[in-house]
Subunit: 85 residues, 2 copies
């Protein structure tokens, strides 16, 4: 299989699997189960993956990790907003 296509399919699958949690948190307006500390660790790791993707010049890695960074920034914002209550 073409490696870029493989990477894109892999990226879509791992990205899709994150959506339900975001929807759940946004819907229930509850971020009790999320740890902002872990989200920060995750965002750091994912950002390094994006950097790695740029160095290696691999679009699937850049795109899927950049998407994951966005999703986790949304989760982090939810954590901050909903935990204050």
């Amino acid at each position: 299989m073409d490696e870029n296509l493989l990477g894109i399919i892999a990226g879509i699958l791992t990205s899709v699997s994150m959506i339900p949690q975001v929807i759940k948190v946004l819907k229930e307006k509850n971020a009790e189960d999320l740890s902002w500390m872990m989200i920060l660790v995750l965002i750091s790791g994912l950002s390094l993956w994006v950097w790695y993707g740029f160095i290696k010049d691999e679009l699937p890695i850049i795109l899927s990790n950049a998407f994951a960074v966005l999703v986790n920034i949304v989760l982090l914002i939810c954590c901050i907003i909903y935990k204050k209550r």
Copy 2:
């Protein structure tokens, strides 16, 4: 920065961020919040990433995604065991 070192650090950070959820599920013996459907999608995506890593011959991608596959298989088993109750 050396790209392999960068990938390894990125992999460690994204792997570490998964540990608390597994510990929480194992400790509380509760997998209510987990969707086995999404875990299956995630395992498929991560497995494709491992495959991608083999094609590209990139050890950081293989190792971090293989670890994530293992973690999610544990979560899937927890889902099956704890949801039956």
